[in-house]
């Protein structure tokens, strides 16, 4: 069993997983949800979805961060979890700094990569098992 949750006011995103022996593993990273005024309506709203997993479809990108630092949460509006930050001097650095978003959840690159690795590890060990995601 697994669950991914972003606590927008608490500035954390947490993955809880249990293995076949009910051993609980907690992977928690600092994330921010500072959404700018120019964002679309509802960009900062809570939502629920099923996690798709780590995606490299954006490659190394200033807006999204380096490869591995993008977690597709399955949100139809694309409000995913990622690193990067356009306008930062080194948006692909492990600790790149903070930049507001247009609705996504932002973490530091190396933290998002670590969280993504934990998600991938669970998905590989438990094929077909859905990881529900909640942002609240």
């Amino acid at each position: 069993m697994a669950e991914l949750k972003t606590d927008m006011s608490g500035h954390t995103t947490t993955l809880l997983t249990t293995d076949k022996n009910d051993k609980l593993t907690v992977t928690q990273i600092e994330t921010h949800n500072d959404v700018v005024k120019s964002a679309k309506p509802g960009a900062d709203a809570p939502y629920k979805s099923d996690v798709v997993g780590v995606s490299n479809r954006h490659g190394d990108s200033a807006a999204y961060g380096p490869k591995g630092a993008f977690i597709d949460t399955g949100d139809s509006r694309g409000r995913d979890i990622h690193g990067g930050g356009t306008g930062l001097a080194d948006p692909l650095a492990p600790q790149q700094g903070w930049k507001p978003t247009l609705g996504c959840t932002r973490g530091q690159n190396e933290d998002v990569i670590n969280l993504g690795n934990a998600i991938t590890q669970f998905q590989q060990a438990n094929p077909g098992v859905v990881i529900p995601y909640v942002r609240e």
Binding site: S38, G59, D60, A62, T86
Partner: protein, 199 residues
Amino acid sequence: MLKSFHILVAVFFVAIGYAEGQNYAGPNALGPFRIDADVSMKSLFERLGQASSTTGDVFCYRSKDGKVFVALTRMVAAYDAKVAGTVTLSSFPNCVNRSVETTPDDLAAWKTKKGIGLSSTADEVRKAYGKPSKEDKIEGTKYRWVIHSDRTDNHYTDKKRPELGDAVLVYQGAPDDLRIAEFGIREGKVVWISLSKNE
């Protein structure tokens, strides 16, 4: 009485400006791209020429004479990926390990509304837009992002990139304003310009 009122109004607006943070003073346009309005990727493709593939986020072009380069980046999906989010114009190749299209457009003519373009001087930028929000040094891996895909195994290549210059003049607004303009300076002249409204 009237004079006192004017002073009061002036103090009020200064206080509001202070409370809201710094106002964006940089350019809002570079060639056909704008950061104060939505410019569609489609309109830029029509102007520059259709990319061989329109999937992905970054699209790279060079001028016919091979002297000017531009990279377009889509806005994030959470906003609208059909809108252009960042444009980076440079006097050196700003895309490696990815396809670069030759455009019939005159990229050397892409300038800001105040006439700043590649080969303008740093002093001309300051004169046009005032004191930058920040003057940054290019060192280490800072600003290596300007050259897209210059990475292997999630690290920048060891190759030195002196073409990026030595300093950057940065214009940005309050923290909740994503507009940003960056001018890369080498030997006192602008060698790259990036305008963005992306997250």
